[in-house]
């Protein structure tokens, strides 16, 4: 379990992390999501004890990372943005060194190294020098180092950068497997990845936590996340009349295009059940009126939109602050 309390990091006058506050439960996959320079890596560096925080506290399984660093660090495996590899070592030498550095008991070292090499499929390259490996393999060596000794908490900073699609899928599977017994925290600016892998998403923008929830809830969080788009030849007044019968409509917006069709956006009442689908009702209403529908489409706020809205709202607010 990780508790981050009121974390602040300043670089000179630049505020990289701005009063972050959260708690992470064991056995879940957490995703840090945010645009470049949002403070994801800095937060991870502070959580692992690589950097000191200007203010605030990080407590890992009851151990403060600054007061009892050695005890706290034993519970963490960390893969930084750039894998910390010694180029002049072979893969197995490097992993043995990492195992000794992490103070694994002498008897378990060999087993652990063998196990992580099996998991990350490094057996074929174990006697090759790291400097001769491709980027994907290097990333895997870094990952192997992070999960070595199977610490309770595994922190991965952009683990799939530079990998080919097949490797990305392998690593995602690996992360899911790991999460059965460990807490995994990963950062990314790729939305699809976070949505697919993570149980819980934390969106960070300009060092602040702007939202944190499950991917599904985040999508629902948006106002008017459930809406329909239709296109028809009827006039807006007619559309309004036809849809009068359909219950559960919050609001309608019309747009008359040049070729005499009406484009309407219908927002569904959010209180009337989240999964309520009005498409059938709308279709039947138009059919009864004998008015053809050219298009009927359910549009839902995607995670992308949530992300854009949350991170850009921040920017607008910040700009307003400057004025």
């Amino acid at each position: 379990m990780i508790e981050v309390k009121n974390l602040v990091k300043k670089y000179g006058t630049h505020l990289a992390v701005d009063h972050l506050d959260f708690q992470l439960e064991p056995g879940r996959i957490y995703g840090f999501l945010g645009p470049n320079g949002a403070g994801k890596s800095t937060t991870m560096n502070i959580m692992t004890g690589y950097l000191g925080a200007t203010e605030g506290q990080v407590v890992i399984d009851g151990h403060d990372i600054l007061k009892e660093p050695e005890e706290a660090k034993k519970h963490i495996g960390y893969l930084p943005e750039l894998p910390p590899l010694y180029m002049d070592m072979t893969v197995s030498e490097y992993l043995e060194f990492a195992a000794e550095l992490k103070e694994l008991p002498r008897k378990e070292r060999e087993d652990s190294v063998q196990k992580v090499m099996d998991i990350t499929r490094l057996n074929d390259v174990q006697f090759r020098l790291i400097k001769n490996l491709s980027k994907g393999y290097r990333q895997r060596v870094g990952l192997a180092q992070a999960i070595l000794g199977f610490p309770d908490i595994i922190i991965l900073d952009e683990p799939t950068v530079g990998l080919d699609p097949k490797q990305i899928i392998e690593i995602r599977e690996l992360i899911r497997d790991m999460a059965k017994e460990h807490t995994v925290i990963l950062s990314s600016h790729i939305l699809a990845e976070v949505r697919e892998v993570c149980d819980y998403i934390m969106i960070i923008s300009k060092g602040k936590l702007v939202a944190s929830d499950t991917p599904e809830n985040l999508e629902h969080l948006m106002a008017g996340q459930n809406s329909l788009e239709i296109e028809t030849k009827a006039k807006p007044e007619d559309v309004r009349r036809i849809l009068k019968e359909v219950s559960g409509i919050e609001r309608m917006e019309f747009d008359r295009t040049k070729d005499a069709t009406t484009y309407a956006k219908i927002e569904v009442k959010s209180g009337s059940g989240r999964e309520q689908d009005l498409r059938e009702a709308v279709f039947l209403a138009f059919a009864e009126a004998g008015c053809p529908l050219l298009m009927l489409k359910a549009s839902r706020a995607s995670l992308e939109e949530v992300f854009m809205e949350l991170t850009q709202a921040e920017e607008v607010a910040a700009d307003a602050g400057d004025l």
């Binding site: 660093p69 910390p84 010694y86 990492a98 550095l101």
Partner: protein
């Protein structure tokens, strides 16, 4: 700590730097040995060793330059600093690996006095003490070089600054002769040194009241002492700064066969101070 020590040591001999250093030092000492001891028949190996001092000044930066600069550049320091090992142990592990590299040629040197002994009279006590002090001097230089390596990400800059610093220390005795020895000159020099320290304090605390009070107090104290007893300041500068000529302790043994125990303590203190400064520099960077 042991893990870091083993890795570092292996890396020194895999990357050739260690081998080159050992070969270089043994080769040059061998040449001096042939010239002084074997050809000219001088029975002291310690004298030969004093000739190798200049090789140290080139060789030590070669070893220390990569210690922390390379880690920082390749970001491998992230592995060390997020591992459950304290920073002091990381620094000590690296330092001990470098000390081991320097110890290897010194162990080889232990054979040379025996060669002299085989061919006649040898002064083993002086020779072995001088080898030990030579090794200790190497450890002092290593500590300085390691500290300078933490200040930069570039190995080249680490090499040049270390080389410059060691050369300066080597020539220190000669530089000292340019310093004034009169009481008034020494007082002005001392005030200048205090001003530099006060300026540094002002830089780190940005508290100008504190700095101004310190500066004023030291000026008043110096001037007062000068008028009460000006003889205190005579030769003060060269007395104070002359201690920095670390090699003097070693050359004292090789030339006069006198072991200065105070000098040995000085060596050990300088090593401790620079290891401490190394730890603090890395620690400070985490916070800024």
């Amino acid at each position: 700590m042991l893990a870091i020590y083993k890795r570092e040591l292996r890396s020194y001999f895999q990357s050739m730097v260690g081998c080159v250093f050992v070969a270089f030092l043994v080769l040059f000492t061998g040449i001096y040995f042939t010239a002084y001891n074997l050809t000219a028949g001088y029975p002291y190996f310690s004298y030969t060793l004093s000739g190798s001092l200049i090789v140290f000044i080139v060789g030590i930066p070669l070893i220390t330059m990569r210690s922390f600069a390379e880690e920082r550049k390749n970001k491998t320091d992230q592995l060390l600093l997020t591992a459950p090992v304290s920073l002091t142990k990381v620094v000590l592990g690296k330092y001990m690996a470098m000390v081991t590299v320097v110890a290897i040629p010194n162990l080889i040197f232990c054979l040379f006095p025996l060669i002299i002994k085989m061919n006649g009279t040898a002064y083993l006590k002086v020779d072995y003490i001088s080898i030990a002090v030579f090794f200790l001097l190497g450890c002092v230089y290593l500590a300085i070089g390691m500290f300078l390596s933490t200040l930069t990400e570039s190995q080249i800059i680490a090499f040049i600054t270390t080389f410059g610093a060691l050369l300066l220390l080597y020539l220190w005795k000669g530089i000292m002769e340019f310093l004034p020895s009169s009481a008034s000159g020494c007082m002005i020099g001392l005030l200048l040194m205090i001003s530099v320290v006060v300026f540094y304090i002002w830089q780190i605390t940005s508290n100008w009241i504190l700095s101004a009070v310190l500066e004023a107090a030291s000026v008043v104290a110096c001037v007062a002492v000068y008028f009460v007893k000006s003889s205190v300041f005579e030769n003060l500068l060269s007395g104070l700064l002359g201690k920095l000529a670390f090699a003097d302790v070693f050359t004292g043994i090789t030339q006069n066969h006198i072991v200065d125990m105070g000098g040995i303590v000085l060596y050990l203190s300088v090593i401790t101070v620079f290891i401490f400064l190394t730890v603090q520099t890395i620690q400070k960077r985490r916070w800024s």
